[in-house]
Amino acid sequence: MPAFEPVLTRNFAVPDSQTLRAYESRGGYQASRKAITEMDPDKVVQIVKDSELRGRGGAGFPCGLKWSFLPKDRQETFMCVNGDESEPATFNNRLLIERDPHQFIEGILISCFATKAATAYVYLRFEYIHAFRIMERAIAEAREAGHLGKNIYGSGFDLEIYCHRGAGAYICGEETGLIESLEGKRGWPRIKPPFPAIEGAFRKPTVVNNVETLACVPHIIERGADWFKSIGTPKSYGPKLYCVSGHVNKQVCVELPLGVTTRELIEDHAGGVWKGRKVKATVPGGISMGVMSADEMDVKLDFEDIKKTGCLGLGTAAVTVMDDQTSMVDYLYNTSRFFAHESCGQCTPCREGTGWMYKIFKRIKAGGGRLEDLDVLTMMANNMGLTPGTTICGLADGAAWPVKNVLAKFRPELEEYIKKNQSSKPLVTPLQKAIAAGTVAEPVALGGRVYPAPQPALRSPGGS
């Protein structure tokens, strides 16, 4: 295999890499010029299709195929670029925007030309104020230089790019939640069909793509589909930015061909596990993808192989490492809290399911767990999400997978924890608090009427 040459990050170290001058001096905007002046849109779509570029936002959907779903007779198309990047431990989009905004803009430009979109919205994570400012500047520069605006390169093609900041909700990274939010509504994912390609932003045909996906496009145009397919593993072609975080010595974002292993990432790029400890588990691509055990460190991190581990997918390829002193109860407590907080609350299985998972883990952690909780959790995890087909969007899958994987791979540890950690103190109820504080117990203030006491647990811990 020839030595891998980074392309997406090749300008990162260049001084003033954010400026148009620096970008153009490194051959920037040549691909867009070539595409717009020498090709027709369908040709560009075809090249991207041929490259088998798969979406980098999480789902890995073939990019060219998605573009070809747009209705042929459409009048108006919108491009929405997904820069919400809220998946925990993921930060490659931020670097792509902050370090090389023009590469990103060129990607948008070519993709909009291919999809005949005259308006692109870049939806940025609320916290990315720095990236937002950089983008605003870069867009102004690009417009000034004629890469954006009316009649670009004399081709008759027009494009405006607008940046839109989110308001701090994970769910607005889901493509239809993003569209709703962009339209000024509550970020509630839409029910599909219709898919955005048919009816998206402002009810018009719309393409939603991740920042990194689009950043690949200029390189594909410049070097060709075959070049792209020469990188990576079967069905997972091209370069990818992997983020590594957690219990490692060096937290990094590196560009590598798709299909490296977790072990390579940790040992070759992240300086190994910290404090000389061992790996207990890793998260392959953002917490919604589930968990791999230490035995699975040699599985290739690409779109296909990873599924053998029972994980949901590659996700954002943001690897989080947990050392051997990490408690899986803490881990689940944390992830479930995240999803209960971030569920949009629209559909029953997710709104209620994420809430209960969190509550159950909170109770287990506090020393009130029961063994049968684990069965209820498995049942719940198996029944929420797009995979069992019960929810509106994939957030619920993300909430279910960590639970499912941990229960499959680390159940003994959880059972052990429950048995060992039975709090001697009963959990304090609001009523008990009121009594202890000597205040008058006002049922209304305590949140409702007094109902018959709940049934006692069917089995006691450790008693089965």
Binding site: S343, T354, Y358, P388, T390
Partner: protein
């Protein structure tokens, strides 16, 4: 356009637009559903996931409530996967519910589905149950039962377009909130109750059925389909009854209301059971003289009246009328019928006056609301009714609402207007006061009160001078164009701008908007009609529509919003002094002859006097006796003190009522009659829809049906009437009213509502009329120019403010019913004058302080309310409060054509009384 697909292995057909759920229901396959309501107007939202089905070849399950089948699709409603998913949804939702024994509504849709699916227990922990919110007088919010289906949000935002309820917070903390999470009773909720009707769980319920614990403790034992007794919208509803008591009211899917109701219709029903109901005939005690300022306690009339038997009371009532008739002639008697009564009652009443009294002095409150509109409509297009139903506005590009406040006075009609505006129709509101529709309007012209004609003429000017009118239509269907053009030539927007206080460019913009609209509908109300130039106002609006050809097509038309539930029907039935039934002039020889034959008596051809004229005639001494059925002129007439003097001066006054009203104080005989829910009859709404209302309750004590009382009084005046049922009276009316010939009583009983004109039984009825000309002698509509005339009484140094009057959402008219409806009076309990915040500051008064409002006719004291919708210099007083009757202040000056008083404008003075 139907397609076929497979449902549980069976080949089935789906009609255009049908969802899988709808097809399944048609095919008899039950699929659970919680967040979906098949009621009209409710969008499927697909959030609860209780209706999931499996589609072959698809990765995820599909919500059947939302998903439309495609040809050849294979759908399984009963696959193991879909059944498991649905059961889990129920189990998840069940966990949060209060236990069945403590359920707010153990028969809710939610529990019924839980039973059907056999889900009785949940393995999941319950969430923190929010505290109940009982801040609203009519509805209880108990969100521990809420399943977050969002039906209430759609009810409030999409169906009623009130935008109060929202889903607050996120994820597991999601919560139904009112405004910014305010208690319901403190929110901007207008208590339409739509959310309560929509909620599938008992989280939102009418308080009337709950016990102290918030549990449903009362069950109806029967239900009766009827109508709402209040406004002209004509909502259909169902009374839920326990014993002889209305427990709850539900909206029904009538053509006018599509299940919707407003606060009055839904919660304003317990007036019928008020202890002050009249239950025995009363006769004035011989030693109690009449006095205009007299007060009689409605709870204890024994100070002035004694109880009597029906025979005695009717004998006394008839004897007085007979004596006056035989001594002074039929024209010395007069009768006021009521637009609240049925068509049968109106018909019978006017027949009694015309054939039993022997004159035409019969009128009712239409005189006070739309007489000028009707005068203008009859003059120009030959018909006094609307040309299109209000719901037609959903097809309009442009909707103009002028001098009307539909969110308050026609709340359910307003939901259609708001909905249309939300879907993109341009809404132009023209009114000096801000109002509920302003928020939805593209333009709100807050012009100077009283300058209506100047403003409207400016619009006509632009439409003519800029060539925006429809030449072909004007040529073919109108007359008088050249004169209109010449007479409006001087009214350029630039000249009119200072007169009406709206800048010229806005006037031009609105004129162009209307002139260029593909379809445009004009709504107007009493802000147009209740002026001395009321007829002129209406002429201008009609001219606008005729110029632009905006009549008779979908989405276009003229719609004077009728006030009372049966003001259209009462007018149709001839309850007006110059018209016999079906608008035949009393002095039209042919009609006169026809009716003499139809009724078999000689008739007086001379038109009678109108409401305000009758009052003047009493004071002059030419009218000496009156029979008043269900009207309250002592509250509703302008310069009410003057009206009360007149009533007190009568030698003989018979009042037929359900309460001892301000009018009944002056009666010689009071005849206790039935309230709306106690009677069966037909009523014609603002859309010309004839609908049937059915008796739901037994009248209290010895109260009698109104038609029975009129009949028995008539018999004592020598008329040999023997009607035994309202249907016989209706059929007699139908016999002399060709426009309802096709609407038999039997048909109404079957269909509930039919819109006239309807010439035959097989005709479905006609909603849009006058597509091809008008019922005038020439077949053309007449364009009648109007001159600018000022209001009768302009502000001056002594009376520097302008007083305008009207209604409140919660109170109907003079308040005799709604002030006695517990919920309504709790929401709006106190008389208040609405003042602009700046004026209030200038007076040195705070909201809630007592103010004295005086005009040349009288003075009242009431609380101050700061109201940003009122422009400085104007004050607004609702006329429903007996303790501070606005009509003691109003000016009785009349419009010369419609004889309607100028309720909307008089000079007034406001002073702080110092008392807080």
């Amino acid at each position: 356009m139907s397609i076929s697909f497979t449902l549980d292995g069976r080949e089935v057909e789906a009609r255009a637009g049908e969802t899988i759920w709808q097809v399944a229901r048609r095919e008899g396959v039950e699929i659970p559903h919680l967040c979906y309501s098949p009621a009209p107007g409710y969008r499927a939202d697909g959030n609860c996931r209780a209706c999931m089905v499996e589609v072959e070849g698809e990765r995820v399950l599909a919500p059947s409530c939302l998903r439309r089948p495609s040809p050849g699709m294979k759908v399984a409603t009963d696959s193991a996967r879909s059944k498991a998913a649905r059961a889990m949804v129920m189990e998840l939702l069940l966990a949060d519910q209060p236990p069945r024994e403590a359920a707010h509504d153990p028969d809710s849709k939610f529990w019924r589905w839980a039973d059907k699916l056999g889900v009785t227990e949940s393995r999941f922990p319950a969430r923190h149950a929010p505290a109940p919110d009982v801040s609203h007088p009519a509805m209880a919010v108990q969100l521990d039962a809420c399943i977050h289906c969002g039906l209430c949000v759609r009810a409030c935002r999409e169906v009623q377009v009130n935008d109060v309820i929202g889903m607050g917070r996120r994820g597991h903390h999601a919560k139904i909130v009112f405004d910014l999470d305010d208690p319901m009773g403190h929110s901007t909720c207008v208590a339409c109750g739509e959310c309560v009707q929509a909620c599938p769980t008992g989280a939102l319920m009418p308080s009337s059925v709950l016990d102290k614990e918030g549990r449903k403790s009362r069950e109806p034992d029967r239900s009766v389909d009827s109508l709402c007794p209040y406004c002209g919208v004509g909502c259909q509803l169902t009374y839920q009854i326990e014993g002889n008591k209305i427990l709850q009211v539900d909206g029904r899917d009538g053509p006018a209301n599509h299940n919707r109701l407003c606060v009055k219709g839904r919660f304003g029903f317990d007036y019928v059971a008020h202890p002050q109901r009249l239950t025995r005939p009363l006769i004035r005690k011989p030693d109690v003289p009449k006095d205009a300022d007299d007060f009689v306690d409605p709870s204890d009339p024994s100070t002035h009246f004694r109880e009597a038997t029906w025979d005695e009371a009717l004998d006394v009532a008839a004897a007085g009328l007979r004596t006056i008739r035989d001594t002074f002639g039929g024209r010395a008697l007069a009768g006021f019928g009521s637009a609240k009564g049925s068509n049968e009652e109106a018909y019978l009443f006017q027949k009694l006056v015309r054939t039993g009294f022997g004159g035409n002095n019969v009128d009712h409150c239409t005189r006070l609301c739309h007489a000028s509109s009707v005068a203008a409509l009859i003059e120009t297009i030959g018909s006094g009714a609307v040309t299109a139903p209000f719901s037609e506005c959903v097809h309009s590009d442009v909707i103009v609402v002028i001098g009307a406040n539909p969110t308050v006075n026609h709340p359910v009609a307003a939901t259609f207007i708001k909905g249309a505006a939300r879907r993109g129709a341009k809404l132009v509101v023209i009114d000096p006061r801000g109002q509920g529709l302003s928020r939805h309007a593209t333009h709100h012209l807050r012009f100077k009160p009283g300058s209506d004609v100047a403003l409207l003429n400016a619009l006509i000017h632009v439409i003519i001078e800029e060539g925006l009118y429809d030449r072909a239509y004007v040529d073919r269907f109108t007359s008088g164009f050249e004169e209109l053009r010449a007479r409006t030539f001087a009214f350029s927007p630039e000249k009119m701008a200072p007169v009406c206080g709206v800048d010229a460019s806005t006037l031009r913009e609105v004129a162009r908007l209307y002139g260029r609209a593909r379809s445009a509908l004009i709504f107007w109300g009493m802000g147009i009609s209740q002026h001395v130039h009321g007829t002129d106002n209406a002429r201008c609006l009609i001219a606008l529509a005729l110029l632009c050809g905006q009549v008779g097509r979908p989405g276009s038309g003229l719609h004077p919003l009728r006030g009372q539930n049966n003001v259209q029907g009462a007018s149709d039935a001839g309850l007006i002094p110059m018209f016999l039934p079906d608008y035949h002039r009393t002095n039209d020889p042919a009609a006169h002859a026809d009716f003499e034959k139809y009724w078999g008596v000689n008739l007086d051809p001379e038109p009678g006097l109108t409401v305000v004229e009758i009052m003047a005639a009493i004071l002059r001494g030419s009218i000496r006796g009156m029979y008043i059925m269900g009207e309250n002129p002592a509250m509703s007439d302008p310069d009410a003190r003057h009206a009360r003097e007149a009533l007190a001066k009568l030698d003989h006054l018979v009042v037929q009522e359900i309460f001892l009203t301000e009018t009944a104080r002056h009666a010689d005989v009071i005849l206790p009659s039935t309230a709306f829910p106690e009677k069966t009859g037909t009523f014609t709404n603002t859309d010309r829809r004839v609908q049937i209302g059915r008796a739901a309750l037994q009248p209290p004590g010895d109260a009698r049906q109104d038609w029975w009382i009129v009949r028995d009084l008539a018999r004592r005046l020598g008329l040999g009437w023997n009607y035994e049922h309202p249907s016989e009276i209706y059929e007699e009316l139908r016999g002399c009213m060709p426009s309802i010939r096709g609407i038999s009583w039997g048909r109404l009983e079957r269909e509930g509502a039919v819109t006239y004109p309807c010439p035959s039984e097989s005709d479905p009825g006609h909603e849009l009329i006058f597509a091809e000309g008008f019922p005038t002698p020439t077949g053309r509509g007449k364009l009648v120019p109007a001159e600018v005339s000022p209001p009768d009484e302009l502000p001056d140094d002594a009376y520097p403010m302008v007083l305008t009057t009207g209604r409140l959402l919660e109170h109907w008219h003079t308040g005799s019913m709604t002030r006695r409806a517990t919920v309504l009076d709790r929401i709006e309990p106190e008389a208040a004058v609405h003042v602009a915040p700046a004026d209030l500051r200038r007076l040195g008064a705070n909201p809630g302080d007592r103010l004295r409002v005086s005009t040349r006719r009288g003075s009242i004291e009431l609380a101050a309310r700061s109201d940003r919708d009122v422009p400085p210099g104007l004050i607004f007083i609702p006329f429903c409060f007996a303790e501070a009757a606005a009509n003691l202040l109003t000016n009785p000056a009349l419009d010369p054509f419609g004889k309607i008083p100028e309720f909307k404008f008089c000079a007034a003075k406001v002073e702080a009384t110092g008392a807080g």
